[in-house]
């Protein structure tokens, strides 16, 4: 234990830990809705879209966060509008957005120098180089996102489980847009830390683990946040100890937690089924 505490002697690592925990918790919580409304593909698309957002920001001269948010929000609105037209299925619309935005990013970036270097940083993230203001920004974005999601929590859950019923009760489709924007903001806040690939993992895996443990969405958000934070702590500690890539280690930690939970839950199910079965056969 003392050894691990020693690891965190450096300010760099402490900041990284704080950022990683914030990101992990936020993704774990928002992830509950990502899994519930089947949004992993959408999440992947948004993650890819941060790339052109950042490139455009660099070209125009905005901060990466602002550029990322602006482009991603614009794209999400475009997806929302086209999907609303109902001529194509949602996954096709999201697919076009994914391919198009990423192609745009690559095309724009190819006119700049330092092409390859920037791309890899975006792909794998760099949690160890976060500055204090990055942590603050993540915290603020996280608070705004969570407030938005919690404010419309009841409506979202209703809509998820009973679309017709919700619509009959006057559910406004624009609440879907709020959720999508919340996911988008989460991704933009997460990508600098763990990169695009792992942002997607962090938004799905802790939530999947939470789902094994509870069926209620509210509880899943809290449990997911816990899993996410735990993945960050475990992953970052492991990466400091064994000198492995930080982002990837966090993602692997979340996968390990998921697998562990799955095994425990399955074993528990098998045990209870053996006890119940004899009475069912005689029904």
């Amino acid at each position: 234990m003392r050894h691990i505490l020693d690891l965190y002697d450096s300010g760099v690592l402490r900041r990284a830990l704080l950022e990683a925990v914030l990101v992990g918790a936020l993704c774990g919580a928002v992830g509950a809705h990502v899994v519930l409304r089947r949004l992993p593909f959408f999440t992947i698309t948004v993650a890819h879209a941060t790339f052109p957002g950042i490139v455009l920001a660099t070209i125009v001269g905005l901060s990466e966060l602002v550029g990322g948010l602006l482009f991603v929000f614009g794209l999400i609105v475009a997806i929302y509008v086209v999907a609303g037209e109902r001529r194509l299925d949602t996954s096709t619309t999201v697919g076009v957005a994914l391919a198009g935005s990423f192609g745009l990013g690559v095309m724009l970036q190819s006119t700049q120098n330092g092409f390859s270097r920037d791309l890899t940083a975006i792909l794998v993230g760099s949690v160890l180089t976060v500055q204090r203001h990055d942590v603050v920004t993540t915290f603020i974005v996280g608070m705004v996102v969570l407030c938005a999601v919690i404010a419309i929590h009841k409506e979202l859950v209703y809509r998820a489980f009973d679309p017709q019923g919700a619509e009959a009760q006057g559910y406004r489709r624009v609440l879907d847009l709020v959720l999508l924007l919340a996911v988008g903001a989460t991704v933009v806040a997460t990508v600098p830390a763990v990169g695009t690939i792992l942002a997607v993992a962090l938004l799905s895996v802790p939530a999947m683990a939470a789902r094994l443990v509870t069926r209620r969405v509210g509880t899943a958000m809290v449990v997911g946040a816990a899993y996410g934070a735990a993945s960050s702590v475990l992953g970052l500690t492991a990466s400091a100890e064994w000198n492995s890539a930080a982002g990837a280690s966090i993602a692997l930690a979340s996968a390990a937690l998921f697998v562990g939970t799955f095994i425990i839950v399955s074993a528990r199910d098998q045990v209870s089924r053996h006890r119940v079965l004899p009475s069912v056969a005689h029904a």
Binding site: P40, A99, F102, G103, T120, A251
Partner: protein, 277 residues
């Protein structure tokens, strides 16, 4: 340049046809997942100094089987599991490449291809794969149509959904393999999804869908190449040709989508129900 044009036209034809299948079966996510899972095969082949083509083929075959089986299982949530596999396998590819000292440049080549530097052998390899993939689609077109339209009916008639789905995923994987050298694994998804999506906005009979999809793909490919070539000569911008094609294809989609939206609003609800012919 001629080889670049040739290879992109072959890809436009292949992806145009397979893209309609992807559209009808709503496999956009699966296709994207396959591009991410073929990548480690390409990466490992590159690091080992072997043929990228063979690496892509092996990864394509393995991941098709893996993804097909995973998505047929009813126990775990499909989309999340797919995302997990995608992220995991892609990360492996990145890690393998990162051990190489020319990391960044290699990554770029593998992800985005080197369209202007394709040699004759690569054109032939691409054409051969395209022929096989198209052959499979044409041979199985009845069964693919039935399965896409009526899953329950297909099963009742005794067709194995697992076999048909595996064949479809293998065909998509073959498209990714065919495109790997020219436009890279990251951009091929645009060829598969966007022209077919554009066609779907415009027509609703199967033959017209396929024809339009191929036509849009070919026009977009040619236009993209011309623009990227032209601007590099006259403006001095080095626009990556593969990416430019993708942007052009997306722009065509956007224009058609906006036109449809305006037309629907202008004429009212009657348009939507009568536009099914």
């Amino acid at each position: 340049m001629q080889r670049a044009i040739l290879i992109t036209l072959v890809l436009a034809l292949l992806a145009g046809v397979v893209g309609v299948l992807v559209q009808l079966r709503e496999l956009s996510f699966m296709s994207d997942a396959l591009t991410h899972t073929v990548f480690p095969g390409v990466a490992i082949a590159f690091a080992a100094g072997q043929s990228l083509f063979v690496g892509a083929l092996i990864a394509g075959a393995v991941s098709s089987v893996l993804l097909t089986v995973a998505t047929r299982s009813k126990r775990i949530d499909q989309d999340s599991f797919l995302a997990l596999l995608l992220a995991g396998l892609f990360s492996i590819g990145v890690v393998v490449i990162s051990r190489h000292h020319t990391y960044s440049a290699d990554l770029t080549t593998l992800l985005f291809g080197r369209l202007l530097a394709v040699d004759t052998l690569e054109v032939i390899e691409t054409a051969a794969v395209a022929l096989i993939a198209l052959g499979v689609v044409v041979a199985m077109r009845k069964e693919l149509l039935l399965r896409a339209f009526d899953e329950i009916g297909a099963e009742a008639m005794g067709y194995s959904l697992l076999c048909i789905d595996l064949a479809v995923n293998l065909v998509v994987a073959l498209v990714v393999v065919a495109a790997a050298r020219a436009v890279g694994t990251a951009l091929v998804v645009a060829f598969l999804i966007t022209p077919a999506a554009t066609a779907r906005l415009m027509c609703s009979t199967l033959t017209r869908l396929v024809a339009t999809s191929v036509a849009v793909g070919a026009v977009g490919a040619w236009l993209g190449l011309v623009i990227s070539y032209d601007t590099s000569i006259h403006q001095g911008w080095r626009l990556a040709p593969g990416a430019t094609i993708v942007v052009v294809l997306t722009a065509i989609f956007a224009i058609v989508a906006m036109y449809q939206a305006v037309r629907t609003r202008a004429v009212g609800h009657e348009t939507t129900s009568s536009s099914t012919t």
